[in-house]
């Protein structure tokens, strides 16, 4: 092979293989094409996500984590509870074997704007309402709230009074025991709602306050319901409103785990009938809830003082009660409690001591199954035959 041929061969060979620089340039071009494809795919992905999220309430800089369409200004919620009571009384004729869907409640709320909202609570009790039936259909709350500032709001309409623990927070998943405590039935007649207006305030110290002006009670002064506070609730149903009432509360929750509150209420004429011997009445209520990890302690006292010749002559001008309840949340699923109550109401049926203990199984934080045992001793001889020991089973939910 002569020199020219060798040179030609070498030249041809050199031109057949890319140089390092050419390889680098080729790789660079490939990378740039691939990056452009990636950018295009990313744009398509973002556009797809934008399209999907446009149908929901998620915004790019404010991600909504839950499925519920909270772009709607209206929300629905509710709670309910089923009870089974198996109580053996001293007199077997007074035994109780009963199953009852005690409450089926729906909440409807609407947010008109950042300042004005509406809240309501509709309840069906004991499954069936109507002539001769045990149940009732009731509006327990229906009020408009106007936020006057970050610390002050006014509520007008039908609202639950700021007294006790259960009156405002009565979803059955929030308390232990199949049945509510008796003090917040006979003395503080929860659930207790009236019509009127109240101011609601709070500040960064953890102190909150309520001051409400509202419709009053219409208590009986004779018969089996005489002087029973619970039977005096008018429930804002064509309620007599010649005499109004006032409720005030101070509450402190500034230490996480601690809730202390005191309420005072004045009824200018608890029977709504002047001159019938039940002139006026005032209630004080105080409670404390202390939570430390799995341990919680609840205690509450409430008492009425009525004036008037007839109520004083009946010996029921003072009515009161208290309870104490320690509880232990064993884990995410199980909790246990014990409760002692002492009630001194207007009638023998509202004068007793009771001890109750039980467990709750939390299938979900908002779905609970409860079992408890209870022993109730009536203090009046006339009701001795109704004293009982028994067990209760319940189902409770809220959403």
């Amino acid at each position: 092979m002569n020199r020219i041929s060798i040179i030609s061969l070498l030249f041809a060979t050199t031109n057949s293989f890319p140089t390092a620089a050419q390889e680098t340039e080729s790789l660079q071009e490939t990378l740039e094409r691939q990056q452009a494809q990636i950018d295009a795919l990313q744009e398509q992905l973002d556009a797809t996500a934008d399209f999907i999220e446009a149908g929901s309430v998620t915004q790019l800089n404010r991600t909504q984590l839950q499925e519920r369409d909270v772009g709607s200004q209206t929300s629905i919620g509710g709670y309910g509870e089923l009870h089974y009571n198996n109580l053996d009384a001293t007199d077997p004729d007074n035994n109780t074997d009963k199953m009852d869907f005690h409450r089926f409640v729906l909440f409807f709320a609407h947010e008109f704007n950042d300042r004005v909202s509406f809240f309501s609570e509709l309840e069906v009790e004991h499954s069936l309402a109507g002539e001769g039936k045990d149940g009732e259909v009731e509006i327990e709350q229906a009020f408009i709230q106007v936020n006057l500032s970050n610390e002050l709001a006014v509520q007008g309409g039908l609202f639950v009074l700021p007294v006790g623990i259960l009156n405002e927070t009565h979803e059955p998943t929030t308390f232990y025991g199949v049945e509510r405590n008796a003090i917040e039935s006979a003395i503080v007649p929860a659930t207790w709602w009236e019509g009127g207006a109240q101011l609601v305030g709070n500040n960064e110290s953890g102190l909150s306050w309520n001051a409400g002006f509202h419709s009053g009670l219409e208590m009986y002064t004779s018969g089996s319901k005489a002087f029973r506070v619970r039977k005096g609730r008018q429930k804002v149903s064509n309620a007599v409103a010649t005499d109004f009432a006032f409720t005030g509360r101070l509450r402190y929750t500034g230490i996480p785990g601690l809730d202390v509150a005191a309420s005072w209420q004045y009824q200018s004429d608890p029977s709504a009938k002047p001159g019938d011997g039940l002139d006026d009445g005032a209630m004080i209520e105080a409670h404390m809830i202390y939570t430390n990890g799995p341990f919680q302690l609840r205690t509450l006292y409430a008492g009425w003082e009525f004036t008037g010749e007839v109520v004083e002559a009946a010996g029921v001008a003072s009515q009161s009660g208290f309870y104490i309840e320690p509880s232990w949340r064993l884990n995410e699923r199980w909790g246990t409690f014990a409760r002692f109550e002492d009630v001194d109401g207007a009638v023998a049926g509202d004068q007793f001591e009771e001890f109750r203990a039980g467990v709750s199984y939390f299938a979900h934080p908002n779905a609970v199954f409860k079992v408890d045992v209870a022993n109730r001793d009536y203090t009046q001889l006339s009701k001795e035959g109704s004293s009982y020991t028994g067990f209760n089973v319940g189902m409770a939910y809220q959403f």
Partner: protein, 185 residues
């Protein structure tokens, strides 16, 4: 109106009402902090960049376990500057969304603010006496076991669902941040 009602209405209730109204100042209700103010507080000395983390099926499962409900999000955006990140997420308390801002320095909570609160009860969760419990909290657990915070958060009676919303969002933020750093997103 009877004379008795007039008397104690005028002497007792009306002054309280007037005092309450007088002490009120008009403001935008329920909005306690604007987004711009939150980011300015989070990044006082720098301009953050926006990042996005995608919620794949595995992450969605973990978030659903943390929050105890299905999660409706394809992606979550957040702001980053250096070792600090800021997040704004909505989570429903009882029946309305709470807009919650969380700032993380390193792997610990530096700040948490309720930007918008829309519910009737549970107002306590927007105040420092409650949110200060989250400061310095870190994530414990992995996606193979339950995720939680390394600090106890005491609840507030009557505000359990609002408390759960803040706790859940805090855990979600720490988990997503851990995921973002691990995947280089």
């Amino acid at each position: 109106m009877t004379d008795r009602v007039k008397t104690w209405w005028l002497r007792g209730v009306l002054p309280i009402v007037l005092w309450g109204l007088a002490s009120a100042a008009y403001g935008q209700m329920g909005v306690y902090m604007e987004t711009e103010d939150f980011l300015a507080a989070a990044f006082p000395d720098s301009e953050p960049r926006v990042e996005v983390i995608w919620i794949d099926n595995e992450r969605r499962e973990v978030l659903a376990e943390i929050l105890d409900h299905p999660v409706n999000a394809l992606r979550v955006s957040y702001w980053v500057s250096g070792d600090k990140s800021a997040w704004i997420l909505d989570e429903i308390g009882k029946d309305r969304p709470i807009t919650i801002g969380v700032v993380v320095q390193g792997d610990a909570i530096e700040m948490i603010r309720v930007l918008v609160f829309r519910e009737i009860r549970g107002w306590e969760v927007r105040y420092p006496f409650f949110t200060d419990q989250f400061l310095g909290a870190r994530l414990i657990g992995t996606e193979q076991q339950s995720v939680g915070l390394d600090q106890q958060i005491d609840g507030i009676t009557g505000a359990t669902l609002s408390v759960n919303a803040l706790r859940g969002v805090t855990e979600v933020v720490l988990f997503l941040l851990q995921e973002a750093r691990g995947s280089g997103e």
